[in-house]
């Protein structure tokens, strides 16, 4: 109740976050010289952004529906692992997935080889189709998880009634599943559409050129190649409008709650036990798993062969990424804890922290660059800026994990703590941390994984001497040093998934 120091600290933290967030945005707005500064290619980037997002969203959802249905009506050994696998892309570094997709679908990959046997020439992985493919890789699992929730929300009594009335699969679909899909799918499709509008790393690695540049990528190019800050800022304004919508939708719906938890319920079904449907479901699940696993296996298996002869620069970059990940995790969880305490009394604190979802990393980066420019050489601050942007971007997820837990803690033990005079640091040590270690560990793990794998703002600033591991990986790919790139990818996966696992598991045991 009367946790005065925590509330004050949290309020100060929320104000600081607002400054870090709004300062760069104001700088961008001030520097943007209206829409007149935008070229025809910039409007093309906006059109491409919307078009590829629509394609990615439609494909993700269409592919997800059969997978979700198969998972909803089958119980089999390894089903939990499949559900877990569907959660994994959320924390998988984007650039690693891109490398994997290149390995599978690229010129020298197995798909091209098979197509070659059939005398076909498959389209290149680079360009619009590659961008869409990568977006489907990331968002088909998300769509599956969300639609699976819809399937599991169909009451078991309804299905029992359907069985009692002798419904066949077609009847069940028409009377039970179709209404559910009609209610669920548009929302899922919208979320994925909006997520895909903020795509940067995928477009950076696979897109580019007049027909495959997203707005985020256009900001990067205006900034990095043309050094046209006014145009970069104007594009930032366009992205901000897109991102504001995207982020709120994404935050509401996409965060996997504790990874696969609560999705283990299989509703008993009586209408789909025929061998044909079982074969169909089995095939769909196997294909989905292959689509998700094959790129990873190809990269990581080959990466393991070359891990020992990685250049020293890669290890140094890994150390930088580790430091950024740990720093971001500690800062984010610290800020989120203080803000969650303050949010008990002042609801605006939660709103302030959540506002960050509206900012894109490149817009924030451009703004911070503009703010630093009069004071110092912004390049010197590449790593601190990367850390800061990752903290701000991870904060909404951390708050979403911690605020409900803090509310529950306050409802259950707030009065007891107050009546015993447990306040401030003593409260944090004796009550807060022990009771909140699960959500805090989850938030720390998520932040660390996202920060370790982030390929966003660092691309704007960094010189080769400041490269993080994802940037190094991108540069290795760019110079076609694929063996080293794969080994670096293995290192990055170990780093980000390992950090997530350590924080998350560590908060469960003991």
């Amino acid at each position: 109740m009367s946790r005065g120091p925590g509330t004050r600290l949290g309020t100060a933290a929320a104000l600081a976050v607002l400054v870090v967030l709004l300062g760069p945005l104001l700088a961008v707005a001030w520097r943007a010289e209206g829409w007149a500064g935008l070229r025809a290619s910039d409007w093309g980037a906006l059109r491409f952004t919307l078009w590829q997002a629509a394609c990615s969203s439609a494909l993700s959802v269409l592919l997800a529906i059969p997978v979700a249905r198969a998972l909803a009506r089958r119980r089999f050994a390894g089903r939990d692992a499949v559900v877990l696998l569907l959660g994994a892309p959320f924390i998988l570094p984007v650039i690693v997935a891109v490398l994997g997709l290149v390995a599978v679908f690229g010129r020298t990959g197995p798909i091209a080889w098979i197509a070659g046997l059939a005398g076909l020439d498959p389209p290149s992985i680079y360009g619009a189709q590659g961008v869409i493919l990568a977006h489907v890789f990331f968002n088909m699992p998300l769509a599956t998880r969300l639609i699976l929730q819809g399937w599991q929300a169909i009451p078991g009594e309804r299905l029992r009634l359907a069985a009692a009335l002798g419904f066949g699969p077609g009847d069940t679909f028409r009377l039970l599943e179709w209404p559910m899909l009609r209610a669920t799918v548009p929302g899922v499709a919208l979320v994925i559409f909006l997520i895909c509008t903020t795509s940067f790393a995928v477009a950076l690695a696979l897109g580019g050129g007049p027909r495959a540049t997203t707005v985020e990528l256009a900001i990067y190019q205006a900034f990095r190649f043309d050094f046209d800050l006014g145009r970069a800022a104007a594009l930032g304004g366009v992205q901000l409008a897109l991102g504001g919508l995207a982020a709120f939708a994404a935050l509401r719906l996409t965060l996997p709650s504790g990874f696969g938890a609560g999705q283990d319920r299989v509703v008993p079904r009586w209408d789909s036990s025929g061998p044909l449907l079982r074969g169909q479901d089995g095939g769909v699940i196997a294909l989905a798993c292959a689509f998700l696993l094959l790129p990873m296996v190809l990269v990581l298996a080959e990466g393991a062969l070359h891990l020992t002869n990685l250049p020293a620069a890669v290890w140094t970059a890994a150390a930088r990424s580790l430091a950024i990940a740990l720093g971001a995790a500690l800062l984010t969880v610290g800020l989120a804890l203080a803000m969650a305490v303050a949010a008990l009394r002042a609801p605006w604190v939660e709103a302030a922290g959540t506002l960050a979802v509206a900012a894109s990393p490149l817009v924030l980066g451009t703004g911070l660059y503009l703010l630093l420019l009069p004071l110092a050489n912004p390049i010197a601050f590449a790593l601190p800026v990367t850390l800061l942007v990752n903290v701000v971007l991870a904060l909404p997820f951390a708050l979403r994990a911690l605020i409900p837990a803090m509310r529950e803690l306050d409802a259950d033990y707030g009065r007891l703590s107050a009546s015993l005079g447990l306040t401030g640091w003593v409260w944090l040590r004796r009550v807060g941390l022990p009771r909140l270690r699960r959500p805090a560990g989850f938030a720390a793990g998520l932040t660390a994984a996202l920060a370790a794998g982030d390929l966003g703002v660092i691309t704007l600033f960094a010189t080769p001497e400041q490269a993080t591991l994802p940037l190094m990986l991108y540069q290795l790919m760019g110079s076609y040093r694929m063996e080293e790139a794969k080994a670096a990818a293995l290192l990055l996966v170990i780093l980000s998934l390992g950090l997530f696992w350590l924080f998350e598991r560590g908060s469960r045991d003991a």
Partner: protein, 231 residues
């Protein structure tokens, strides 16, 4: 003495007034229908709720603006009296020092009070490994260890069966007498009030009716008590 001086508590559409004096050194039962505001009154006395008017004095000192932990009272809640992640000994030790840095003398006092409530040997257990009665004893032990002159009970034993509840009330009466504690306890069981309370007061129609001797009150129930008892 616990003085409620022109106290007025407002929560949304709910309003409760209290203007009375509760005697120190005895057990006062507080009764009233569900939703009449018994817990609300306790919350105000304990400092979880600011009254819109009036003041609360204990032993002549105005405590109306004090933080809950600074008031000369301890409170047992309906539930969640123990932190689930701390051992019995730690939960009880919080009564002496919230940071649990206990001196040897304080550790002795901790052991003594655990023995007093019959929890010796269970110090290292967590609350989930205790029975409901043992959990109540641990919470009472902490209140005794804190040594604040007043003890407020918001039906902490209501989840216990009749025999256990009687045991706890007996233990409460004995320890309160021995330590010279003043007790204000919410109950909705008339037999509890008759078993342990020296005085009983009722809340009816948004107002606290001043206490009367329990014996006399039940011998000749007032209209408010008759209404509560459903007679």
């Amino acid at each position: 003495m616990l003085e409620l001086d022109g106290l007025e508590i407002v929560q949304g559409a709910f309003r409760l007034t209290a203007d009375t004096v509760l005697q120190a050194g005895q057990i006062t039962a507080l009764m009233g229908a569900s939703g009449s505001g018994k817990s609300t009154l306790l919350a105000a006395i304990a400092g979880f709720l600011d009254p819109v008017r009036g003041s609360i004095r204990i032993a002549g000192t105005d405590i109306t603006g004090l933080a809950p932990g600074d008031r000369p009272l301890s409170m047992l809640f309906q539930d969640n009296n123990l932190f689930p992640h701390l051992t019995v000994a730690q939960n009880v030790g919080l009564g002496l020092r919230p940071d649990l840095r206990l001196s040897p003398a304080q550790k002795d006092a901790q052991a003594a009070v655990l023995a007093r409530v019959g929890l010796e040997g269970l110090e290292a257990r967590r609350p989930r490994d205790l029975s409901g009665g043992q959990q109540s004893r641990a919470a009472l032990a902490r209140a005794l260890l804190r040594g604040r002159p007043w003890l407020l009970l918001d039906e902490p034993f209501s989840a216990l069966g009749p025999a256990l509840r009687r045991d706890m009330l007996t233990l409460l009466r004995e320890t309160a007498r021995a330590e010279g504690l003043s007790v204000l306890m919410v109950t909705h069981h008339p037999e509890d009030a008759r078993a342990v309370a020296d005085a009983t007061c009722l809340i009816a129609d948004g107002a606290l009716i001043p206490p009367a001797s329990t014996e006399a009150l039940f011998a000749e129930p007032t209209p408010a008590l008759r209404a509560y008892l459903g007679e």
